[in-house]
């Protein structure tokens, strides 16, 4: 693995600063925003394992996220399971769903947009199932009883919720870093770059991709569990809606797919952009999102490698300007 460039260092420091900002800035508005941004970051990290490291772009990460949330909710409500235990099972359920979808899709050799569409379809099927049966609350969704307190994994204030999602995010990053640095991670990259060549050097591409889906499913499931424990309510469109699948992939692509910090950077920047245009545009409904879309296009236009691509352009001062120029030209 190449040495970390100064870009990653700078980004890491900035993210760390951003992470502690809610404690320094005595603002409840900022922390509510931060909870949502960090929660979606966890989901982005999950997407990045399959979409970034392994090159299998999914449009249906809601299938994994929603399964985590639903499993945790049903176990608490139907079997009276302790929320911590239910949460762990929720994570396992996300992983299992990831493995299941991955095994089916990759068994039949689906790649590229075919894989994208089949994941989308799975999320839709799950949404329909969740809104059809009594055990999932059908159309009414599931509401956890309001019992604040850490014993119930419910948060008396936003700071506690923030600490919880932050820990989750750091854990997810750690898992993601471990995967990236491991042999499995290099195999994933090999599969992404050229699946046939990877096969030729003895990598079991099928296995690598399924394992990627399982890891991704566990992380996405954890994000779903976190959403449930914070909002205490889920229904089919919230858990399995295409909005969540889109949120999952926006951050990594904007931030830089396949990089460690890219998903988090992308998600945080997009959330900030969203807030800024909301504040800037004011009351006109829709206009803020028009500007959001335009900013999205501009980032694509001027930062095709994502924000981490920009950070990657930074060099240690010792390196000459010509090296940097060649990097720019690349």
């Amino acid at each position: 693995m190449r040495r970390l460039g100064p870009g990653e260092g700078v980004v890491g420091i900035l993210l760390a600063l951003a992470a502690i900002s809610p404690f320094v800035l005595p603002s409840q508005a900022w922390i509510g925003f931060a909870v949502n941004a960090v929660l979606i970051s966890v989901l982005s990290i999950a997407w990045n394992v399959t979409g970034g490291f392994c090159g299998q772009m999914s449009f249906g990460h809601a299938a994994l996220y929603g399964t985590g949330a639903y499993a945790a909710a049903m176990l608490q409500l139907r079997l009276g399971l302790n929320p911590y235990l239910a949460g762990i099972v929720g994570i396992a359920a996300g992983a299992a769903m990831g493995g299941f979808i991955g095994a089916l899709a990759f068994r039949y050799g689906l790649r590229g947009s075919y894989f994208a569409l089949v994941t989308l379809a799975f999320a839709e099927v799950l949404r329909i199932l969740a809104s059809s049966f009594e055990i999932t609350g059908a159309g009414s969704g599931l509401t956890l009883p309001f019992r604040p307190g850490l014993a119930n994994l419910q948060f008396p204030d936003r700071y506690a919720a923030y600490v919880f999602v932050l820990i989750l995010c750091i854990l997810a990053l750690a898992v993601s870093a471990a995967v990236k640095g491991s042999r499995l991670g290099s195999n994933m990259v090999a599969v992404r770059e050229n699946e046939e060549a990877a096969g030729a050097i003895g990598i079991d591409a099928f296995r690598v991709k399924v394992v990627a889906m399982i890891i991704s499913g566990a992380i996405a499931g954890a994000a779903g569990v976190a959403y449930l424990q914070i909002q205490l309510f889920i229904d089919a469109p919230i858990a399995y809606g295409s909005l969540i699948s889109v949120e999952a992939l926006l951050g990594p692509i904007i931030g830089g797919a396949g990089t460690l910090l890219g998903p988090v950077v992308g998600t945080v920047v997009l959330h900030i952009v969203g807030e800024v245009v909301k504040t800037g545009v004011g009351g006109a409904p829709g206009l803020n999102l028009v500007f959001y879309g335009i900013v999205l296009l501009l980032i694509l236009r001027f930062l095709p490698n994502g924000l981490m691509g920009l950070a990657g352009n930074l060099r240690w001062p010792a390196r000459t300007a010509s090296a940097a120029r060649s990097a720019e030209a690349r």
Binding site: Y108, L110, L117, V118, S131, G286, L289, G293, L300, R301
Partner: protein
């Protein structure tokens, strides 16, 4: 219940014709540009509004407005592909995907801002005209949409088979580099293709308007089904899209009848997943036109 099967199938065919028309555009764009166009539903919505305002402001019947709306959206599609999607995404898959996603965010919310979220409908004199076919009543506008979809598919097929443009599009779809070396302007061909795809959606909008409503979110009602139709028909296959659209209309109607409308939606997606798993190339010959 069994007595309802024939009317349900006929009604499913007319709904399916609209799916087919929306999917024709999508499959053309997919087959040639190899991109999944997330803005397709938004363009459908924009075309519905265009036809709606032509009716409200100029008193044009949607069927009369059809050629105008189609022409406008052909140009819009051409410009979008050539000067927005292509320029802004640098031709990378992930970025193209996001570019179409960004476009859909802009179009949807632009419509919300300009037209508000009110549900709009138009009143045409023939809205309640019914045609009796066997045991079923088919609304006249739906029958028109059904026949028009067949005509459009045929026209598109002629265009792809018997014109220079069609030949160029097919060449680019099969081998972009080679076509480029043969002197085909790839960017222009891509944009033409996107324009034609968008024009199909515009036609679908005009045929849909007499029996449907318009809101800024209306595109979502059709876009997922359109994806399914494209996959089922074989990505890039025009005939496949037509047959698959009609087929899905019927599947939806029958599943709705026997499983209930809520669970019945699953029919479409089950068909989708099964096709992707067992015949990822689609049920029908997967090639352009």
């Amino acid at each position: 219940m069994l007595g309802l099967v024939v009317p349900a199938v006929l009604s499913g065919l007319t709904t399916g014709a609209i799916y087919a028309l929306v999917a024709l555009g999508l499959t053309l764009i997919y087959g040639v540009l190899h991109i999944i166009n997330f803005a397709h539903g938004s363009l459908l919505m924009a075309a519905l509004y265009t036809a709606l305002f032509m009716n409200l402001r100029l008193g044009l019947d949607p069927y009369v407005a059809l050629p105008v709306v189609v022409a406008i959206f052909f140009c819009a599609g051409y410009l979008l592909q050539r000067y927005v999607i292509d320029t802004f995404s640098h031709g990378r898959d992930a970025n193209i995907l996001l570019a179409t996603l960004a476009l859909s965010i802009i179009i949807d919310n632009g419509a919300l801002y300009l037209f508000t979220s009110n549900t709009r409908t138009i009143d045409v004199p023939y809205a309640f005209e019914m045609v009796e076919i066997g045991p079923a009543f088919i609304p006249l506008p739906k029958l028109v949409a059904f026949l028009a979809a067949l005509v459009f598919a045929a026209l598109l097929w002629l265009l792809m088979r018997h014109t220079r443009l069609g030949a160029a599009i097919r060449a680019v779809a099969i081998e972009k580099r080679g076509a480029e070396l043969m002197g085909i302007d790839v960017k222009h061909t891509y944009a033409m293709c996107f324009g034609i795809g968008t024009a199909c959606v515009a036609a679908a909008a005009c045929l849909l308007l007499p029996t449907f409503y318009v809101t800024p979110q209306v595109g979502y009602a059709f876009v997922l089904v359109a994806f399914t139709t494209v996959v089922l028909g074989g990505m890039g296959s025009l005939g496949g899209a037509l047959v698959a659209g009609l087929f899905l209309g019927v599947v939806e109607a029958l599943c709705g009848l026997f499983l209930g409308e809520t669970l019945g939606q699953i029919g479409i997606f089950a068909a989708f997943i099964l096709t992707l798993l067992f015949r990822p190339a689609g049920l029908f010959a997967p090639r352009v036109a």
